[in-house]
């Protein structure tokens, strides 16, 4: 499996996907194809190594979830992205496919408030349980008070 073969496979199976880069392969898929694409990346492309999952806040354009998975045998790395749309913070969870996505999605929920549908245990992981808000959102003011220490 080379990058070119992977590209043709992606083009055949996912018509709505947009390819932005070659090394690593940067593929943007529609949000409803997110879990299917992850399954395809693991089974067909052989990307069995889950590197990370995070999110980007594009303000008016909404949130973007980014995950990187690698095929370590054939040296294909795949950066998969999806846009949730403006004002939406619900995304399918990758935990049925990649178990490593569990804590990453919890962190993503902690920092961006994205609710991952199908996650077995979605609660805060880094911040305290009584924290209000999601601090890596652009709408979170840096001077947000935290009583009683502020």
């Amino acid at each position: 499996m080379t990058s070119d073969e992977a590209l043709t496979l992606i083009g055949e199976r996912f018509a709505g996907a947009r390819v932005d880069g070659r090394a690593p392969l940067v593929v943007t898929v529609p949000v409803d194809a997110w879990l299917r694409f992850a399954q395809f990346a693991k089974d067909t492309l052989g990307c069995r190594y889950f590197a990370f999952l995070t999110a980007v806040d594009w303000k008016e354009e909404g949130l973007e979830v980014v995950a990187k998975v690698d095929n370590l045998d054939d040296r294909v790395s795949l950066l998969m992205k999806t846009r949730l749309g403006p004002g939406v913070s619900i995304c399918a969870s990758l935990t049925p496919v990649y178990r490593g996505a569990n804590w990453m999605e919890r962190e993503c929920y902690d920092m961006f408030g994205i609710r991952f549908e199908g996650h077995p245990d979605l609660r805060r992981i880094l911040l305290a349980d009584d924290w209000e808000g999601h601090p890596l959102l652009k709408s979170y003011a840096v001077d947000t008070p935290h009583p009683p220490y502020r």
Binding site: L127, A128, P135, Y140, V142, T144, H146, Y149, R150
Partner: protein, 212 residues
């Protein structure tokens, strides 16, 4: 040939209202009840003090107790971040605080001094307060480094307490990022100077005059 436009300038932040400063003043050094004393000890010393000529005894006793206090300040070993490395260097043989009577002790129950060495996060602050509360009175606190003094480079982060004096009262602030062992040693000597003027009433001595 393309002519480049002017380089966009990043606007300088204007501190219109000194909100942070006002907040700092409001939250600075609040420990209204002061150091806790034994009531029996206090009534005894008050009795001696009101006796004719008794003030000489209490003053001498005060001086003696203060000398004892300042000569055996035991800091609790409490390292938070990279400042803790410098604190350990201060404790170790090259700078050796043990010649000042300071024994780093791994229990807050036996300690007199807490050196807050590093960034205090909002999640860590309750634990820090708990350790401070476990120390017996009279107790002192040294804030070491920019992070503990004011939040330092993480001041505008979402997760950092902007100065440990919002959690516990601080006696000596040691600036630096991190302060070298010499700075911390100087801070500890200043603290000993403060302890030498510690009053029986539980009021803290006036802060050291600024010498520049």
């Amino acid at each position: 040939m393309a002519v480049k436009g002017p380089i966009p300038q990043i606007p300088v932040p204007v501190w219109r209202n000194f909100k942070d400063l006002q907040e700092w003043e409001a939250l600075h050094q609040t420990r209204p009840e002061g150091d806790k004393h034994s009531a029996l000890f206090e009534s005894l010393t008050d009795g001696i003090h009101s006796f004719p000529g008794g003030f000489a005894v209490t003053t001498v006793a005060d001086n003696f107790l203060n000398w004892a206090r300042k000569s055996s300040v035991w800091p609790v070993t409490f390292g938070l971040a990279c400042c803790a490395i410098e604190m350990m260097a201060t404790f170790a043989s090259r700078f050796d605080v043990e010649r000042l009577g300071m024994v780093p002790w791994a229990s807050p129950r036996h300690a007199d001094l807490m050196i807050v060495s590093g960034t205090v996060t909002i999640k860590m602050a309750p634990m820090l307060l708990r350790i401070y509360d476990q120390m017996p009175d009279p107790k002192w606190a040294v804030s070491m480094g920019s992070c503990a003094n004011s939040g330092g480079p993480f001041r505008h982060g979402y997760h950092v307490v902007k100065g440990v004096d919002r959690v516990i009262p601080v006696d000596v602030y040691v600036p630096g990022c991190p302060p070298p062992p010499e700075s911390l040693l100087n801070g500890l000597l200043l603290l000993q100077d403060q302890i030498a003027h510690f009053r029986r009433s539980g009021r803290r001595a006036a802060p050291n005059p600024k010498v520049d």
